[in-house]
Amino acid sequence: MNLHANETNGAILVTVEEARIDAACAIQFKDQMREVTEGETNRVIVDMTKVNFLDSSGLGAVVAAKKQLGTGRSMELAGLSDTVRKVFRLTRMDSIFPIHDDVQSALDQAHAE
C-alpha cells in the first residue's frame, strides 16, 4: 500500500498510489492513512484517481480512516472510477463522504461540508 501526502491550500491531499483497495491491503490503508494525516489540518482530500478497484473491505478501511480523523476534520474523496463510485452508492456511503469529480474541483471548493 502506497499513500503519498502533501499540504495544499490548507488541506492534506492524500494520493493513493495503488490500483486496488481490497481485502489484501485494507489494514495497511487504514494504518497509513493515520500516519499521513497526522497534523492539524481540517480538510483531508483523498485522490483515488489511480484506484480502479475497491471492495467492501476497502470501503470499510475508508470509513475507518474517517473515524480515525474524528469529528473535527472532514474527509473528502476525489477521482472515483465508475465501479468504485458504485460501491459507495450501493452502500449509501456516498451520503457520508463528500465526493468530487477530481482533485481540482475539490480544491476549488473552500469547504465541502
Binding site: 481490497d22 481485502a23 478497484f53 470499510g60 465508475d82 465501479t83 460501491v87 450501493l90 451520503s95
Partner: protein
C-alpha cells in the same frame, strides 16, 4: 462463436486456470494475496471468454465480496483452503459457480442485505457487513447448496 481449439491451462501466480470455449475455471487457495491474483486473472483473461467490458468491473466486485467471505467466514482466515471458480458466458450473461470446503453458511443461505444506520454518530458508522448486500443488489439467481462437506454457490450477472 467460441473457438473450440483454444484451450489454455496455465498457472498464474499460484492460480490454476483452464480456458475452454466460453468457459473459464480457476483453482486457488484462501490466502488473500492469492484470491487477489485470481480476481485479477478473471479480469485480465475475461475477454478470452467474451466477458464484456461493461460487466467486467461489476463481476470482479461481486466475486471479491463472495471470496472475501469464503476467506473470512468459511475458512476462518486459514490460508490453505481450496477454492474453485467456474465462469461460463452465454449470450452476454455471465454465470458463476464458486465452491469451497469450509464451514457451512449459517442458516443454509447467504445473509440478506443489512440496512445500516448512516445517521449514527461517527464512532458508530459501520466498517463491515456490506458484502452480501452488494452481491444481492447486483446478481440474479443466487443459489446456495451444501453438498458433501462443500459449499456450492451460483449466480448470474447480466449487462
Amino acid at each position: 462463436m467460441p473457438n473450440d481449439t483454444l484451450e489454455a491451462v496455465q498457472m498464474e501466480d499460484r492460480v490454476k486456470v483452464v480456458i475452454n470455449g466460453s468457459n473459464m475455471n480457476l483453482w486457488f487457495t484462501s490466502e488473500p494475496e492469492t484470491v487477489r491474483n485470481a480476481l485479477c486473472t478473471v479480469t485480465k483473461l475475461g475477454s478470452d471468454i467474451k466477458i464484456s467490458e461493461d460487466i467486467s468491473g461489476l463481476l470482479e466486485l461481486v466475486l471479491a465480496e463472495i471470496l472475501n467471505n469464503i476467506v473470512e467466514h468459511a475458512y476462518q482466515e486459514q490460508p490453505d483452503g481450496p477454492i474453485e471458480l467456474a465462469i461460463t458466458v452465454s449470450e452476454s450473461k455471465v454465470h458463476c459457480i464458486l465452491r469451497d470446503s469450509g464451514v457451512p453458511m449459517p442458516g443454509g443461505a447467504p445473509p440478506e442485505r443489512k440496512e445500516h444506520d448512516l445517521e449514527a454518530p461517527l464512532e458508530e458508522l459501520p466498517e463491515g457487513g456490506f458484502g452480501w448486500g452488494i452481491v444481492r443488489d447486483l446478481v440474479q439467481d443466487l443459489q446456495y447448496n451444501r453438498v458433501a462437506h462443500e459449499n456450492v454457490l451460483s449466480f448470474e450477472l447480466s449487462p
